[in-house]
Symmetry: C2
Subunit: 305 residues, 2 copies
Amino acid sequence: MPTASYPSRVKLVDVGPRDGLQNEKSPVPAAVKIALVHRLQDAGLREIEVTSFVSPKWVPQMADNAEVMAGIQRKPGVRYSVLTPNLKGFEAARASRPDEVVVFGAASEAFSQKNINCSIAESIERFAPVVEAARAAGIYVRGAISCAVGCPYEGEVAPERVAYVAQLMKQIGVQHVGVADTIGVGTPLKVQRAIEAALQHYALDDVSGHFHDTYGQALANTLAALELGVWQFDTSVAGLGGCPYAKGATGNVATEDVVYMLHGMGIETGINLDKLIDAGVYISDFLGRKTQSRAATAILNKRAG
Amino acid sequence: MPTASYPSRVKLVDVGPRDGLQNEKSPVPAAVKIALVHRLQDAGLREIEVTSFVSPKWVPQMADNAEVMAGIQRKPGVRYSVLTPNLKGFEAARASRPDEVVVFGAASEAFSQKNINCSIAESIERFAPVVEAARAAGIYVRGAISCAVGCPYEGEVAPERVAYVAQLMKQIGVQHVGVADTIGVGTPLKVQRAIEAALQHYALDDVSGHFHDTYGQALANTLAALELGVWQFDTSVAGLGGCPYAKGATGNVATEDVVYMLHGMGIETGINLDKLIDAGVYISDFLGRKTQSRAATAILNKRAG
């Protein structure tokens, strides 16, 4: 039975405050982001991707990065991570005392060229000084491998490309890799192949899954990853963060939906689903939008009687 | 590897025309239902649950049952099934020459009592003459086991209750059982336990899964069922049929989402996804509503460029 191999405990990293809110047309005020982080940690999240230290010219939504990091009342046992695309960003991030920094690379050459105008290898090489500086400062470094299953420009991405990026990241000292199905096109067996490719270079405890629900596949893909023993996943409260390649479509899988599945399978997360749903209601109300989480929608309907 | 046991081919029964449309406030015209059935069979569906032969007093949406059945230009190799709650309904259905009739029973005593005011055993016993008449007429009989994982009145439903209903259905001659998570509360391991309970009395080829996406779990549950070797599932084009117990919530899993997953896993369905999406657009446009299918939404966004 495959059931024997499921992990008994799963760690979820809520990426809502960063990945979820960075595409909002009207930037969300720092106070709201801080309140969201507080609600997430009160709900039991043990890691939160808070913000990104990128140029405000490119991502004005994250211009308040230092303010948000400074405003959080940190809770013991919770890790706060931030994106750091370059050394300048890292130096700014460092003053905010993140527990973890995130660097990234695509598994698709076409995506890398179109998005950052350089090859995959070049993009990873550019992160080397960031990784070196972070590790010298004792800060944990996570690498996100985007387009790990499919790419909006070149279609299907072979598992070998994921192995290639994982190897490059390993070489520069990245400690953990997240296998990200950025456009949500993955299905269970393809996701397993992508994860197995990352596992060629990283131990099981150093690999996480990051799935988008654009095609409705995220929970099935999560189940498929659990079967390989993967026990760390990125998720986004209320499914914050639409898919930039498909207007109106779902992006990040909703944390609530994943928690509902895991708890139903007897897998611990340390998360209180009701409080998590309240956090999702808080931010959805602020954005004037309905939650993307089906579990939250169903439970809110039940609450309303 | 669990992957070794996945079936290579899956049969989907689209229940949209019946299960999907029977809760519409304004009954859908027979001509639209017929056009939908035609589009589904053109997309490659091999079985379609067309209508229900119940009293129009109770379900006015299906009052056109005979008209719909008569209006379909049947395609060789496609099966047309109808619901028959009693002998009167069966006699009316028989004149419409269905390939299959569906009877039903709940795995929850509370649900049975509240819904049809009798015990589970009594409800199954009432179907005995229908089953007898159908089999005498050479018509295949499928049984739907509702609330197989959870019940809106009594909460979790034990697998033993599913085994009990399956046994009762077997005793009266029902040839196939569908394990239905009517309110969508199931998660992968619970769904596997419910299916295994049905498998105590029915062979693998005579058991299907019917999952609702109310809590976003339907594809994960489908994957879990595939792992047990189940290769037949009920699905509903465009996710037609909201959940009657939670206003605005998703009900039946969308056929498109299931097809997308299966094809991505290399599992054949005989269905053309693009034509299926067109069928979903047709009925969603008629209802003035957006499709509930995430895969269809993503693909329609891509089509729109």
